[in-house]
Amino acid sequence: MDLKKIYRKIGFPRLIISTFLVLLLIIATALKIPMSGIVQDILTRFGMNAVLVLAMVPSIQCGVGINFNLPLGVIFGLIGALVSMEFGLKSWTGFFVAILIAVPLSTIAGILYGLMLNKVKGQEMTVGNYFGYSIVSFMCIFWLIAPFKNPEMTWAIGGSGLRVTLSMASTIGGVLDNAFRFEVYPSWMPKWLVSFLEIVPLGLILTFAVLAAIVWIFSKTKLGTSMRVAGSSFKFASSNGVNVDKYRILGITLSTVLAAIGIIIYSQSFGFVQLYNAPLYVALPAAASILIGGASLRKAKIIHVIIGTFLFQGLLVVALPVINILSEGSMAEIIRIVISNGIILYALTRKEGETA
């Protein structure tokens, strides 16, 4: 009786995936793979991806569902990062300039996109997905002809057109990850603190915590509550005088801006800006993560972001070294495809409102 209750609370997908994760961790220990490395990787990948997953929250809360058009925000985030790199700005200045450029651009894009989505209620996910694909392929042309001149960013031959991956090592790479790490630690620091700071990317995690707190506080304000009401039931909201269309635009704009910030955070941690087709591969893992965390197409909370990102990234991080020892290298990628699409499929085939 009680077990059933607990099972229902945890939910089928989370049970399966955490069991799998624990199993992999046991195998990893048996294979003598260093734990500190795994913990560091999980935390780093968590921080890298969590903001992109967070971007799904306002979109689900305002009733649009999964924002498959995350690439829209991502592109403006990339433009922010690229402009900052073009001027050779370094570390924090570079990071904040990138954010300052990305936020207004993605706000405008988000508002326009929200206006468009209000015309296609009920088909947002399909339309959004293809809209995202078209934007990304259009931007492929832009990256080729964009007026960037910095020789570190353009193709060596010809001197024009941006490279596929640009290193951020000399600009803003690792600025958040290494915010609390030093070349030489001061002597007053105890040893455990030093190794803690080396393993935990504290700056990265704190940045996510701040952004998550902002989204959480926003959802508790009057504006945020109205937005959730608008998202939960169209009829109920409009009969209560809530302007549903307005709140949908608000939710989508927030989501787009978070995606823009998210990709800057992702890139600085990864150390590279990835252009051309790379933004295409942002939305599905983010959608999968939040659904694994327990969100549905109608309901999402911060806790879903944290649990989902942790489980999904944890699984990938642990699976990789274990599988590399046990089997072929491509297995980890296949697992990622199967799990992420499987969970989205699972959510899509639930009845309205049921959690995944």
């Binding site: 498959f68 468009m116 015309k119 296609v120 209620k121 009920g122 088909q123 996910m125 399909t126 339309v127 997905n129 293809y130 809209f131 694909y133 078209s134 990304v136 392929s137 259009f138 492929c140 042309i141 080729l144 002809i145 057109g161 599905l284 089997s327 072929e328 491509s330 297995m331 296949i334 495809i337 199967v338 699409n341 499987g342 989205i344 499929l345 899509l348 085939t349």
Partner: protein
């Protein structure tokens, strides 16, 4: 009718910019039509049944490729090889179509996005089977197909043993054009035409009009939808076999991925929409889409001095046209429901 006209203009401008000789374009076009028409046709039945554009034809394409992997493994060449591939892939396609139909019945109203994600998911399973299990658990006799480690199929598999064996059947001595494939495509179109005239076809239309009314008037809605998807998946499997026997090489892990995208874009460019499609749109759309495909790299090269731009442009067109068509359709539908309410 505005969409096909715009694309015709775009293609004609592209043709003049590219400076390609006309007979090259015509020749290329005949082959491309013979390769792609069955795949595009496989989308028609689900559209009529009201399930939108079935991105799940990717699963059908996989079934077709499994048939081809089978014949290469047993080294069955020629027209017999094509026939065996069809025979092997059809039951697989029926099974996959049945499963797809089951899943889509659970996601009514969200069929398109669900079928797309289902395609991605199936792709993962497909890779799992052919990268990890082939050669290990699945016995592969033909060692040329396996990677050097002995596990997993190679990225490209040579299909020379059946290359153009259908295209050149009977008429091969007279002309290099794929006459037989075009005849079979035409027969399938006629078959589809008559299928839609039967009772089953009428029921599909009824379900497409309104699931509720169809259900009330005694039609088994879920079953009709599953049948529609099975037909679509089987046609896609055959279409993929026809496509690959013409190409002569199988890219084991990528060939099926683009099938859904290109077929859907073709149909939409022909003027079809999410709830209306026929053989006319399939034919016109496939023609226009591939005309743009043939001319755009060269046009990009001549216009911008970079062939890559033309390449990206046609991908943009493929995605953009699907996005725009879906957008316009959903927009119109929303307007209609609003006006009914008022």
């Amino acid at each position: 009718m505005i969409v096909p006209i715009v694309f015709l203009l775009l293609s004609v401008i592209g043709f003049f910019l590219s400076g390609l000789p006309l007979n090259f374009v015509v020749n290329e076009m005949v082959f491309r039509l013979s390769r792609n028409l069955i795949l595009v046709m496989s989308l028609i039945v689900p559209v009529i049944t009201g399930m939108g554009l079935n991105f799940g034809i990717v699963l059908g394409a996989m079934a077709g490729q499994i048939g081809l992997i089978f014949i290469v493994n047993y080294k069955i060449g020629g027209i017999l090889g094509v026939l065996v591939a069809v025979l092997v892939s059809t039951p697989i396609a029926i099974l996959l179509g049945y499963l797809t139909g089951k899943v889509l019945n659970k996601a009514k109203g969200k069929e398109m996005i669900t079928s797309m994600i289902l395609g991605f998911f199936a792709n993962g399973i497909y890779q799992l089977v052919f990268i990890l299990l082939a050669g290990k658990i699945i016995p592969i006799k033909n060692k040329d197909m396996l990677m050097s480690t002995g596990v997993g199929l190679k990225n490209t598999i040579d299909l020379n043993i059946i290359r153009k064996s259908l295209d050149n059947l009977l008429f091969g001595k007279i002309t290099p054009l794929p006459i037989m494939t075009l005849i079979i495509t035409a027969l399938l179109f006629v078959g589809l035409y008559f299928l839609l005239k039967t009772k089953l076809g009428q029921e599909m239309r009824a379900v497409g009009q309104s699931m509720y009314i169809a259900g009330v008037s005694g039609i088994n809605v879920d079953k009709t939808r599953i049948i529609a998807i099975i037909i679509s998946t089987v046609l896609a499997a055959w279409g993929q076999i026809v496509y690959l026997q013409n190409m002569g090489t199988l890219s084991t892990y990528t060939n099926h991925e683009q099938v859904g995208l290109f077929a859907v874009a073709s149909l939409l460019i022909g003027g079809a929409s999410v709830d209306k499609a026929s053989w006319k749109e399939a034919l016109i759309g496939t023609f226009l889409f591939h005309l743009l495909f043939i001319v755009s790299p060269q046009a990009g090269q001549n216009l911008m001095g970079n062939a890559q731009i033309g390449e990206y442009f046609r991908v943009f067109i493929a995605y953009g046209v699907i996005g725009l068509a879906l957008l316009l359709h959903a927009w119109e539908k929303a307007k209609n429901t609003a006006s009914i309410k008022n």
